[in-house]
């Protein structure tokens, strides 16, 4: 599925990712945890192709090199990023936006586009998944949405785009416990043998709801520790201190994910 090899990323001359390696197999859910400023969001944007980063290394999805591709081509290849801060687009109807997104990807893949009526049917099912009301579709994209509504809208988009690789960037930030439960329910329903997920989070709390197959600790732009979900519990008790302070250059060589896809 996804192979990330020696990925570096800098923005405005500032190095943020320092040789990140990660392998994600089909159907796996990997959690990436780390302190503020460790490069978690940069990793997400480097995978999605945001402008402004100088990136080196290799990233392949299903054997296809992603790094030379425009963001829209990566989307067509199956990369989906659930944004930490979903963007407002005033005046653009949410339903229209969602259908344009789905059809853009379908067109890029040479598939037939979905008509308005068929799309509405699919959209309604997906909305039930994240407990969204119908009027969501008639509002402008994220405009005036509450924090929880924005995040639910991201998961709705993920449900409609049916990505190969979903990257969820701090999807839990700013959510109360009920919203967290709804969103986690949506994410879990979308897990499947053909879909991989990278869940980026600050807190272990989210992982109580979305049980990851693997947990990685990102510090200073590099993965310094990997394990199963018990690693997250360990972090909850002890914090990141033990990882932050150790000398990265002296870190022992070890397999970073423990799996091969």
């Amino acid at each position: 599925m996804l192979h990330v090899n020696n990925l570096t990323a800098a923005i405005g001359g500032k190095q943020i990712l320092n040789g990140l390696d990660l392998d994600v197999g089909a159907g796996e859910v990997h959690a990436i945890m780390g302190p503020n400023g460790s490069g978690k969001s940069t990793f997400a944007h480097a995978l999605a192709g945001r402008d402004g980063y100088e990136v080196t290394g290799t990233v392949t999805l299903d054997g296809v090199d992603l790094l030379d591709m425009e963001p829209e081509a990566r989307a067509a290849a199956g990369v989906f990023l659930g944004f930490q801060y979903p963007v407002e687009i005033p005046g653009v109807n949410n339903m229209y936006f969602l259908r344009t997104a789905v059809n853009s990807v379908r067109r890029a893949r040479g598939e037939t586009e979905v008509g308005a009526r068929d799309f509405l049917k699919v959209a309604k099912e997906a909305m039930d998944l994240v407990e969204m009301k119908q009027d969501f579709l008639d509002r402008a994209v994220n405009a005036g949405f509450s924090g929880g509504e924005k995040k639910r809208n991201e998961i709705l988009q993920m449900a409609l785009m049916q990505p190969r690789l979903a990257i969820l960037d701090e999807t839990d930030s700013g959510l109360d416990i009920d919203a967290l439960r709804v969103i986690a329910g949506g994410v879990n329903a979308l897990r499947g043998p053909e879909r991989s997920m990278i869940v980026i989070t600050h807190y272990q709390r989210l992982l109580d709801y979305i049980k990851p197959d693997f947990v990685h600790v990102l510090v200073d732009g590099r993965i310094v520790e990997s394990g199963d979900h018990t690693l997250a519990l360990h972090l909850e008790d002890h914090g990141y201190a033990s990882f932050v302070n150790h000398d990265l250059d002296d870190a022992p060589e070890r397999p970073l994910t423990g799996v091969q896809s």
Partner: protein
Amino acid sequence: MSESTRTIEELTESDYEFGFSTDLDTDIAPPGLDESIVRLISSKKDEPEWLLEWRLKAYEAWRAMEEPDWAKLEIAPIDYEAISYWAAPKQKPVLDSMDDVDPDIRDMFDKLGIPLHEQKMLSNVAVDAIVDSVSVTTTFKKTLLEAGVIFCSFSEAVRDYPELVREHLGSVVPVRDNFFAALNSAVFSDGSFCYIPKGVRCPMELSTYFRINSMNTGQFERTLIVAEDDSHVSYLEGCTAPQRDENQLHAAVVELVAKDRAEIKYSTVQNWYPGDENGVGGIYNFVTKRGRAHTDAKISWTQVETGSAITWKYPSVILQGDRSIGEFYSVALSCKRQQADTGTKMIHIGKDTTSTIISKGISAAHGQNTYRGLVKVLRSAENARNYTQCDSLLLGKDCGAHTIPYIEVKNPGAQIEHEASTSTVGEDQLYYCRQRGMTEEDAMSMIVNGFCREVFNELPMEFAVEAQRLLSVSLEGSVG
């Protein structure tokens, strides 16, 4: 420079798709303006004596006036002696049927996507086609007459309904109103006339399509719409011009009269040639549009201004009658080196009068966009209300957006609200859309159209689609 900024600049340097010119056999007057030219125009059109007198009065007024210089526009001096004030396609003087329209003219309108053959028309819209200020044909005339609606060229109206014209011409925009209106009054060659009798709901949309074709000519057309008590009409106006290196002057006047409880909805999609990216060529568009709303009447202006090198235009409403309503919805796009100084005037005279102003300015490349609007509440206007919203969108670093509202309130009971915002199409918005699979062009078009949504919602369906398309073309250079 980031990639998205660069793309915005590439996108905004698109080609003008209506830039062709048609080789028509044209009757053209020598350049320059004096009394003899005014007389020539009037005699060419077989006008009655009163109209000639009216023109001469306007000419005298114009001679004593100076070009306004208060707008935020940088304009090379206009040489009024270099302009020809009369150009008309030569054709048979009277048209018995659509087949009599010069095939070259028909081809030209086909190319513009405006079918003049009634049987070919898909939508329920009557069209008055005007080339170089002269009406060449009006469709669906018979159907309209059955409903009592008069829709014809201005010249025909002068010939066939002189009393109606005489009563209303200049009643909303007097000859000395301003420099360009006075010039228009002296030399206007044709235009559209529309009359809706008492209690009639016009059975179809009426539309005028303006085309400048000749070189070195000015275009001066005049539109007059009179809606009697309890009547209703929706009117559309479209414009294009060939791509030429010199600037051409367009100075039109539109007058609307909405009598008691009448409603006039006037929509414009203006796409005159904007000039090239270095500011060479393009239409100078100086237009005076104004309506008078009587008791319980409503006048609504909607404009989408994407063309012209210079736009100077303030469609206004005199809210004379009690409870009358004035509306102004505007999208103005300035790309390349275009400059737009546009807005509205809402003059509240009657009691309980209401006005709404929604202005969306988009500036790209080196475009300069100014909203200039006046809300004036006279002492007599008890309980007047106005809501104004001016939003500006900047695409790129070299363009400008300016908002200049004037508010004059003489009645303390007035309620005036003004909101303004300036924003840019954020890289984060483009990135978000692209992450969802959309191309940068599609994303830009979607975001800009979203910005204009409130105005497009006011346009009749076909026009809204056209406006969106035009905006995308102007911004992107090609349609997918």
